[in-house]
Symmetry: C2
Subunit: 377 residues, 2 copies
């Protein structure tokens, strides 16, 4: 999975300390795969997955739109060359003054999932377009999807009617099937819900125009995942099934699926030891852990592929942990990780599939360790 | 729990966005309480709990020593006025080149828990003092203690003999009873283990001189915790029981107990909403969450006191969540949090007991949100 360009970078640059390298060619390839798989959908890249300026500039140049979680992310997308018309303020939890700032920057598309948020937008961004997020169940997703975002479909109807009453443009419905979603048909039930909201609104004279089908597109970690093409076919079939020949404008918001497999973290083995002479398994400590960028190993949710120069040797299970003095800084323990028995202190390991949700998750300076460095090539 | 000085700071300075304010008078009071409770122990402040330069300078001035997790923390302690003789490199997981850097800075006291780490220190810091960390069970601790640090006592004996053979000074034993330890007698079993290691080493002609009793001293969150005095009495009783009238030099490493109750985070209510009309409970969203400094709410481990201006009103349980687009950014959901039913969007809330393990845990820029700001007064 590590591209030759990334291998060459590590070999020639030999950067000190843990770092992420992102291959922009892979990102460009992913963008094209999404466009090809869902040619009628508008791609809104989820900036939070990896907001590196080089990634944003590349995607802006390729014609991507941007799903932003904060005013800072909106400003980064604008700096990268996106126009405000290509930006969605996709966070359902916004300070009213941040709505006003976004609106002043020209942003006109906002996510909501409550009457209270609609009121803020009506006051701070009068006349703007809003879409209401509907709760889905997240079954089949590898990163936990809580009930944090969205409301039940019946309430979404009320929220969108209320937005209309307050002079906003009730534009559509959004949902999120859960991150690292490995079931291609996961979008079907949510699209059925979306259609029901469309119908209910139409009965009240409000014509919705858009379905934001969110992200959730997986990246390859250890297990193979379906292709963008397979997702595209399943989603198009569901759209046709539920909307017939009146398919609305659609949006997708890939983040992990856009950049995950484009990045590789280089780390170093700091210590290999046992806790007693009888211990069957080794503890392997790396110079990066849960607080240095691998936050998604929380509850051992995301299991990254790890590559070493000794992978042809015999393998043995080990506990994998980070370098801090925090006892919670352990990546894989319940489900131990196979690594070469010949692995040695000082060895370099490559943690693949780390292009998404690593750099910005990294702690500022926990235990005095620097945040994860990042290079785009 | 919020001091008048902190309340006055918020009132006069009105800082924008979430921020932590630390009252240095409270830190000084905590230091004096530890010194009074354990007058014969050397206090090594766990820098990772809060490495604010003002905190380090204050403690250096009061005569504290420093437990450091990295070279960066060692440099911060030196910058704050500590001499190298007052610094312990307490992380059992160190790169050999970091051991060499620390040694070059004059540090002469290192933690180990394995033969492999002893070898690094023998090469990079020849002749230095080492202490070996012994595994304890952590029962009664509120922050999870894994098996990450330490080795079984019998192996500690071997590790310290090995250190002696490699020309290091086998100086003592350390252990950690688990963070936010609420049982005052939790140190007893570990001190019994420490004594056994002393005896085994003495039989081989090696006289250990020090027991590092670690941290674990709690700060007051919602429940009352025993006083430093109560811990001091229990620990002194255990030391006497196990070591008789030959009590060795002892070290304690308070972090949370030194700064936890000195800090208060000011946050703002961004949204209060429900997911359906039938929802019994509200969701309350703050402008700080798990990725903005409240990482210790992971698995709902640490439960902070929250204070609002409406606390005299009727209370109702709510789910408490952070402002990011990450579905894992929920602080309290399984065990919901009581907040005033009159709480309103835009209200200020004070999150108390947040002086430890907040600022440096904060993500660099997750979702574009700035790291937690901090003021020491």
């Amino acid at each position: 999975m590590t591209s030759q360009r990334i291998l060459d970078f590590f070999k020639t640059r030999q950067p000190e300390g843990p770092c992420l390298v992102v291959d922009l060619d892979v990102v460009a390839g992913n963008f094209k795969a999404f466009r090809h798989a869902l040619p009628d959908s508008h791609i809104y890249y989820a900036v939070k997955a990896n907001p590196a300026p080089e990634v944003l500039r590349l995607l802006a140049g390729l014609g991507s739109n941007f799903d932003c979680a904060s005013v800072a992310e909106i400003e980064m997308a604008l700096d990268a060359g996106a126009t405000a018309a290509r930006i969605s303020f996709g966070n359902t939890i916004k300070k009213e003054r941040d709505v006003a700032r976004a609106h002043a920057l020209g942003v006109n598309l906002f996510a909501v999932d409550s009457h209270e948020e609609v009121e803020k937008i009506a006051r701070a961004a009068p006349g703007a377009r809003v879409f209401c997020r509907v709760l889905t169940n997240g079954e089949g997703a590898e990163w936990p999807l809580s009930r944090k975002f969205g409301c039940v479909p019946q309430m979404a109807v009320d929220v969108l009617v209320y937005a209309h009453q307050l002079g906003l443009e009730s534009f559509g419905v959004s949902f999120h099937v859960g991150s690292q979603m490995t079931k291609v048909d996961a979008w079907d039930a949510a699209l059925a819900d979306a259609k029901r909201v469309f119908v209910s609104l139409a009965k009240q004279g409000i014509e919705l125009k858009m379905v934001n089908m969110g992200g959730g597109f997986p990246t390859k970690y250890l297990k193979d995942v379906p292709t963008a093409q397979a997702y595209g076919q399943a989603i198009f079939a569901s759209l046709s099934r539920h909307f017939g020949n009146r398919i609305p404008m659609t949006i997708i918001e890939p983040g992990r699926g856009m950049v995950g497999n484009a990045g590789v973290i280089k780390s170093e083995v700091v210590l290999i030891s046992k806790k007693s002479d009888n211990d069957e398994h080794r503890w392997v400590f790396l110079d990066i852990g849960k607080f240095g960028g691998l936050a998604e190993t929380m509850d051992e949710a995301i299991r990254y592929p790890i590559r070493t120069e000794r992978d042809a040797d015999d393998m043995g299970l080990c506990v994998l942990a980070g370098p801090t003095c925090d006892s919670a800084d352990v990546m894989y323990e319940k489900n131990m990780y196979p690594l070469p028995l010949s692995l040695t202190i000082g060895d370099e390991v490559l943690i693949e599939g780390t292009g998404a949700y690593t750099t910005t998750y990294s702690a500022v300076a926990f235990n005095g360790f620097e945040p994860l460095k990042s290079y785009c090539i």
